[in-house]
Subunit: 323 residues, 2 copies
Amino acid sequence: MNQDTQLHIPSYDDVVAAHSRIAPYIHRTPVLTSRFFDELTGANLFFKCENFQKAGAFKARGASNAVFGLSNAEAATGVATHSSGNHGLSLSYAAGRRGIPVTVVMPRTAPEAKKAAVRGYGGKVVECEPSTSSREAVFAEVVAKTGADFVHPYNDPRVIAGQATCSKELVEDVTDLDAVVAPIGGGGMISGSCLTLSTISPNTKIYAAEPKNADDAYRSFKSGHIIADDAPDTIADGLKVPLKDLTWHFVSNHVEDILLATEAEIIDAMYLAWQRMKIVIEPSSAVAIATILKNKDQFVGKRVGVILTGGNVDLKKLPWMNS
Amino acid sequence: MNQDTQLHIPSYDDVVAAHSRIAPYIHRTPVLTSRFFDELTGANLFFKCENFQKAGAFKARGASNAVFGLSNAEAATGVATHSSGNHGLSLSYAAGRRGIPVTVVMPRTAPEAKKAAVRGYGGKVVECEPSTSSREAVFAEVVAKTGADFVHPYNDPRVIAGQATCSKELVEDVTDLDAVVAPIGGGGMISGSCLTLSTISPNTKIYAAEPKNADDAYRSFKSGHIIADDAPDTIADGLKVPLKDLTWHFVSNHVEDILLATEAEIIDAMYLAWQRMKIVIEPSSAVAIATILKNKDQFVGKRVGVILTGGNVDLKKLPWMNS
């Protein structure tokens, strides 16, 4: 998709179509509850476990929707993206399932394990220098050479419609949610949640959870226009990227509030989830839990959906090992 | 229950009764599948996730059955056991839910975190020296003083009937299982699996998985009589205890084979489960996976239930951190 075209806001019909399209390639992930966290918060929490999703994160939804929505002619030249995280992995997964070429541009400094994971799904890794200018130059070259379709990690209506299927499942499985809390980075998951909930569950309030160390969405929300930071530093490495026009549309129109958590609060929440719920979640997921623990008054007595976005962590480098 | 009484073999009616009795106090745990492990083994694996069970392990089933099966008069004097592991925790959980006294005798050398966990559920910890003679003396004193009902960790028909509800749920959720693999220590889970499967799914073969470093059940099975080791050393600390008369009855009559795994194989299997399935399982659970990975020929093309027995680990001391 050419990013210069006019803003294309996906509709809920797109979400319904996406859900049928991707159903064979994604998990309908379970919703877990936890007496421990309910007692700790005074709320009824419903954890949507996208850490159990294909390729380990919700990003498999949007990537699969983009890949399987291509015509055969479009698909023949493959897809491409730049991402050193879950989106690159998920796009490789989806393209692998369809059997089409996929190229992921990654900084040469990205962990070898991440490059190996992309290759494991059949993706081709093209390295760039760890700078925006190098990434853009290398990526343009890849697209020019391959004719690949660019699937942006979040500022793409196909991707947002795909992520929106997560809240659709949640609402189908859990009735009468007062609120949904999901982490925010570029805003793909939050935008999808806004799209679904504002249509089929308009009384459910949407809260975005963001690391205090990468609070560009928070400051954008408060000031009324997109603010992008250069290189925020947080353990929640999926949440460092800024909002873009499409995701800003949803955030500015439908989000109730953006709540912040410190690095220590994120790590504590992650540890508690592993220890008490016996699930492996990545720091980005823990941000949502951390903001609820920190804002109990806002959620007490409420039925709250919590999107646990992914579970891709380096098990040999856990944050509580440093303390 | 007085351990001197004649061998009381629980029946499948006891299992059905146990399931109704404990349903309000336990989770019906989910059964997960994993494309990764299916491709790795060539089998269809169905993972029964008792790591998500109350108190973090299947032991909550047997403990709840014992506690909630007591008359009010019996319950008034409470329950007691000796255990530094999941059974002590589970008995405390169950007694706490019923609101009756519970005493757990633990070596003074047991980790403070385990003592704190028992107390967290409302249990009373009485310390003994780390020797069998001290444990027995201290425990006898506790029972004499309190009149508490002794709930043995596994050699108790109420406990076995409770553990048997796990395979009952598995068979209700997954049809046509060719085999079930579960770890073996004292044999409570395996005995429960034998009791259920031999009754309602007699074509399902039962395999016990044991650490090579604590292979007393394996040697018992091969020699035809109980062999007990003094102090086996394995990372699967729930599996160090020997078979007793009741569990030997089930193992000797219904188990197809006992398969062994080395410490390194156990750690590798545990790491793979965390990494690919995004679940926290303890080493004892990983023994079952390790034996399947090691004996692929035996399971290829088969539908295999795998009991993941628990998820209680010290997240700050993970075995792959030492390597």
